[in-house]
């Protein structure tokens, strides 16, 4: 039995999620991730630190946020990347325009159980449940350990979406508690993987095999990006890896989208946003054909 924690850092809870598994699900986005994928759509998830979010188009320049700031910063001028800045949220309270918000905050297991208990009605009718996402949810394994048991008591099934980049040994006991695991494989070429995500892929591929061995149904998800991983050679290699190591896993391609850009802007890190190209429907269907030719089943949760 590993360590437990009744508290964790949550980015957001999103109920009525229909793309994160069977039925109607509530997706719990847990903060923190070691990868820095260049196409990441959830930059608020990179760390567990609380972050100030600013929606410029709503701001009327009243400066109430500056008056409220205990460390004399000007939140609406993006004046916040500073050692003394703690995202205490005082400015959010006084903003009359709802132009400010805090991303990533501490929540207790009780908070989440309360919410999930209310959503469970919709799970029961739709075959849905909870999906942990992030960030990389396994980084908060102590919190996850508590939540998984609490949700099981509620009769709620738990799925997880992971990038695979974590220390397997410390989360080993959690794997069998999931009803389904989504694992991302972003690139088969370790150098390329490092270039685009900041880390090589060996740990991820090793973890993929270990997770698979636990016997939990598994779907490999590939964020599909024209400039990154859409070349036939990479797709073939990915398919071979799945066929050879994860023969019963299914595949789902997630075409790149630009919707994350608004988040980079609101976090004041617009300079970190990199625009990639969304694959065409033909490209996606060609990619699926490659996986199918290896006998890999396609499952789309959409």
């Amino acid at each position: 039995m590993g360590e437990c924690s009744n508290k964790g850092i949550v980015i957001q809870l999103q109920d009525y999620s229909i793309h994160d598994g069977d039925g109607v699900r509530t997706t719990i986005f847990l903060a923190g991730c070691k990868l820095r994928c260049q196409w990441c759509a959830n930059p608020e998830s990179w760390t567990t630190k609380s972050k100030l979010v600013f929606y410029r188009h709503k701001c009327i320049g009243c400066m109430k946020c500056a008056q409220a700031c205990p460390v004399n910063l000007v939140p609406c001028k993006m004046d916040r990347h500073n050692d003394i800045f703690t995202a205490c949220g005082k400015c959010v309270e006084v903003c009359t325009q709802k132009a400010l918000d805090i991303a990533c905050s501490e929540k207790s297991a009780d908070d989440l159980v309360h919410k999930i208990e209310r959503d469970a009605l919709f799970f029961r009718y739709s075959g849905g449940g909870v999906t942990f996402s992030g960030g990389e949810p396994f980084l908060q394994h102590k919190f996850l350990r508590v939540l998984l048991d609490r949700f099981e008591e509620l009769g709620v099934n738990s799925w997880v979406e992971t990038c695979g980049y974590f220390n397997f040994e410390v989360v080993q006991d959690l794997i069998p508690k999931f009803d389904h695991i989504f694992l991302d494989i972003k690139h088969m070429d370790s150098e390329k993987h490092k270039e685009f995500t900041g880390h090589s892929n060996e740990l991820i591929l090793e973890n993929a095999k270990k997770i698979y061995a636990a016997g939990v149904p598994m779907t490999i998800r590939i964020p599909t990006i024209v400039e990154v991983n859409l070349a036939d050679e990479n797709l073939e290699k990915t398919a071979q890896f799945i066929r050879n190591n994860l023969p019963l896993a299914t595949i789902e391609l997630l075409p790149y989208h630009e919707l994350g850009k608004a988040k980079y802007i609101s976090l004041g890190i617009e300079d970190k946003f990199i625009k990639f190209t969304t694959p065409t429907e033909d490209q996606i269907s060609h990619a699926y054909d490659i996986f199918k030719s290896y006998g890999i089943e396609v499952t789309e949760y959409r």
Binding site: Q14, Y16, I18, H19, G23, V24, E93, C95, R124, R302
Partner: protein, 790 residues
């Protein structure tokens, strides 16, 4: 299923033509009344009906299979001066210019009615009688105020009827009904004083029965004449077929599906001619029509495509006629809406599943022809076939706003609560927008709209309107002197009680006048037991007489506002009643910080008990208070949280409210959250709504939600939505309806209305063409939170 070219041409005509006022009905009725001075009112109304059927120049338009109009134009609105004419006189010069629901009317028509029609009705109309009798203290609150509104019950006919095809119309035909009336009349004696009213009643129904049959015969004769002159062989055959159909129905029971469809349209027409009704419901169409459909398919006289074409042709007929209403009334019932509610699916009288092939054809017809009528409702029960629910969510995904989705069991429960026999309770259908109803019933299902937000305002503002300063409510102490939240809440309920009282007064005065001035002989022949009892529908002749429905408007605004007072004034003490009152008087100007705090207090629609419990308490109080009153037949009044577009005019007369709402902005409809405040998700909004005890509000409850089209784009998304609906209904909730249009699409439609003429949106209890809504209504639709995933 595809539409035929014929349907497409009919549809284009409907989409592209503006409704026109036809004065023929008013002219013929008025001339007839001039000839019948001195006779009993029911006879005079019935004679006028007969005269219209006999004199009106009937027309069959190009491509029509189902024939008959109540006016000269395909899209006609008629005038009923015996109900009211003053508003027409005042407003008709602006008919073609008004922002909501304009009509075409010529100067020639205007001068004719001013010279020849209105003078006759001066001092005789229902409106004038009502206004002269209504006590002044009620009139102050109830006449064109937006506080207590029942103008549709004294400027218009009641409508709100579901003709009984199952047990009366189809088995008997009007020939059979006529015979029943004649037989009953033969047994009566003028020497028996108690027979006198019955004799009058039977004579009136005999006249209307003869009238509607005469009307049909004239269409048959016209079709035969047109067939002789028709060069196109195909159309000639059709005209002869139309003639044959009109020779048989509605005089006799229908022999075919085509005849049954035409029968339904003649009954609608009969009621339109009688009274220009709101909510004349075709009821459980898939149930009473299926035997004819099935027999024709099996007998090889009809193929499925031809059956679909007839259904679609009827949908266009339902949509072509327009309900002529005042500018004030359009605020409450926007979008040329006639509220002809047609219900499919659900359970049979014995409790087994009732869906059949026609249920699906009806859903598809609404998708294909994209008409705003009929108001399509579905009943979903726990054991409803998945295929049917899939068809329902498929229609939802098309963004028409249809169908209105109802919980079968909750509807039956509401009828049991209202005193119906179990089998009849199971056989319910919708009336108007979301009122569970049964066809053998006389009831005013939308008697009054009551502005809850006004009650709150009077409690906080010493009984006065914040916008006009006029004393409208009961005496109340200054806001600053309330010592506790309980006191504020109780003062609000006290004001609500007063508004309910005046609603009752306005209703019973109108009810009494209806029995005297505007009896309904034609509709009395369509509802069981009126003939048996020898009593008009307006006088309690129906098998069931159910109490009038009072609709509460603004539940969420009042709950949200009371929550703000509870939290900010009495719990957190960050403001005082005095300061809050000043802020409201200033419409929040200079109090932006306080408003920001108010906006952060939990809002109804997010599954937060803090505020939902307050909403529940208000709703329960409303139910109990409403039920404590009785109508002129001794039936208890019923409560409802319905929609219609009433949340906009009611908002215009209320100043800023503590919830953060600014003065004159819309309030809220039904049990729906305040627009934009249901920020969590539709699931939370459903959970909040379900906390109200829907089953006791027998006048119906309404929840409108907007869904991003993304959520229902795929089969999985639609399946998930179906399961969400099942889950919501398992909580005992009654109704939910979705607008699934992207804001982007709606903005485009605002910019290029020409390209989006057929875009249907859900307004409240119904759908209508988006481009037909005033800019202000369009903004209100867009403002509803679009629930979407990231």
């Amino acid at each position: 299923m595809n539409t035929t070219q014929r349907i497409e041409r009919l549809r284009q005509n409907y989409v592209n033509s503006k409704p026109s006022v036809c004065i023929e009905r008013a002219r013929i009725f008025t001339e007839s009344h001039m000839r019948t001075e001195g006779l009993p009112t029911p006879i005079r109304r019935a004679q006028a009906f007969y005269d219209f059927c006999n004199e009106f120049e009937v027309k069959i338009f190009e491509d029509e299979l189902i024939v008959g109009t109540a006016g000269k134009f395909r899209r006609s609105g008629i005038l009923t001066p015996e109900f009211s004419w003053k508003w027409v006189d005042k407003e008709m010069d602006q008919f073609d210019k008004r922002p909501q629901d304009p009509y075409e009317m010529t100067d020639e028509q205007r001068s004719y009615v001013r010279k020849n029609i209105f003078p006759y009705w001066k001092g005789k109309s229902l409106e004038e009688h009502f206004l002269s009798i209504l006590p002044a203290e009620t009139a102050k609150i109830a006449v064109d105020t937006g506080i207590v509104d029942n103008d549709s019950k004294w400027r218009q006919a009641v409508g709100e009827t579901t003709p009984d095809y199952q047990d009366v119309l189809f088995p008997l035909g009007f020939q059979g009904i006529l015979k029943q009336a004649e037989d009953a009349l033969a047994k009566l004696d003028f020497a028996n004083p108690e027979d006198l009213d019955k004799i009058t009643f039977y004579k009136s129904t005999i006249l209307t029965s003869k009238g509607i049959m005469r009307f049909a015969e004239r269409y048959a004769a016209l079709a035969e004449q047109m067939a002789k002159e028709e060069h196109n062989e195909e159309r000639c055959k059709e005209l002869l077929c139309i003639a044959k159909v009109c020779r048989n129905v509605p005089a006799n029971p229908p022999n075919s599906f085509h005849e049954a469809v035409q029968f339904v349209w003649f009954v609608q027409l009969g009621a339109i001619i009688s009274e220009n009704p709101l909510a004349l419901n075709p009821g459980r169409f898939d149930q009473y029509m299926f035997p004819f459909f099935d027999a024709d398919i099996k007998g090889g006289v009809l193929n499925k495509e031809a059956g679909e074409e007839l259904v679609q042709a009827l949908w266009l007929k339902f949509s072509e006629w327009v309900w002529t209403i005042s500018a004030n009334t359009t605020g409450y019932f926007a979008g040329y809406n006639q509220f002809q509610n047609l219900t499919v699916g659900g359970r049979k009288r014995d409790g087994s599943d009732a869906t059949n092939e026609l249920s699906y054809i009806c859903l598809e017809a609404t998708d294909k022809v994209r008409t705003h009528q009929p108001g399509l409702s579905v009943r979903i029960h726990s054991d409803c076939p998945q295929k049917f629910l899939d068809a329902v969510t498929a229609l939802v995904s098309k963004g028409t706003g249809f169908p209105a989705i109802h919980n079968d069991q909750a509807g039956a429960q509401m009828l049991l609560q209202a005193g119906y026999e179990p089998e009849d309770a199971r056989d319910w259908s919708n009336c108007g927008c979301v009122v569970p109803h049964f066809r053998k019933t006389g009831q005013w299902t939308a008697a009054v709209n009551i502005n809850f937000a006004a009650a709150l305002e009077y409690a906080l503002n010493e009984g006065k309107s914040r916008l006009t300063g006029e004393k409208m409510g009961l005496d109340a102490k200054p806001a600053a002197s309330y010592a506790s939240f309980e006191e504020v809440k109780n003062a609000t309920l006290e004001q609500m009680k007063n508004l309910i009282y005046h609603s009752v007064v306005a209703t019973v005065v109108a009810q009494k006048l209806h029995t005297q001035l505007v009896p309904r002989p034609f509709l009395s022949t369509c509802i069981e037991d009126c003939i048996k009892n020898g009593k008009d529908l307006s006088n309690g002749g129906a098998h069931y007489n159910v109490g009038p429905v009072l609709t509460g408007i603004g539940l969420a605004v009042v709950a949200n506002s009371l929550a703000v007072i509870k939290k900010l004034v009495y719990e957190d003490k960050v403001t005082t009643m005095a300061e809050l009152n000043n802020a409201l008087n200033a419409n929040w100007v200079g109090y932006e910080d306080l408003r920001a705090k108010a906006l952060r207090v939990p809002k109804y629609g997010n599954d937060d008990d803090y505020v939902d419990d307050i909403a529940k308490e208000i709703a329960n109080y409303y139910y109990k208070e409403t039920r404590s009153h009785k109508d002129i037949f001794g039936s208890k009044f019923n409560s409802a949280f319905m929609g219609i577009s009433n949340y906009i005019p009611t908002g215009k007369v209320v100043g800023a409210t503590p919830c953060g709402r600014e003065a004159k902005k819309p309030i809220t409809e039904g049990v729906s959250p305040y627009a934009g405040s249901d920020v969590s998700s539709p699931l939370a909004a459903m959970r909040s709504s379900a906390k109200m005890n829907h089953d006791v509000h027998t006048g119906g409850t309404l929840l409108n939600l907007r869904l991003s089209e993304e959520m229902v784009k795929t089969p999985k998304g639609r399946k998930d939505l179906g399961n969400i609906i099942r889950a919501y209904f398992s909580l005992g909730a009654f109704h939910v309806q979705f607008n699934t249009l992207s804001t982007e699409v709606l903005r485009k439609a605002q910019k290029n209305p020409e390209e989006y003429k057929d875009l249907l949106v859900r307004v409240a209890g119904y759908s209508t063409q988006f481009v037909n809504l005033s800019p202000e209504m369009q903004e209100a639709i867009i403002a509803r939170t679009a629930h979407t995933t990231m």
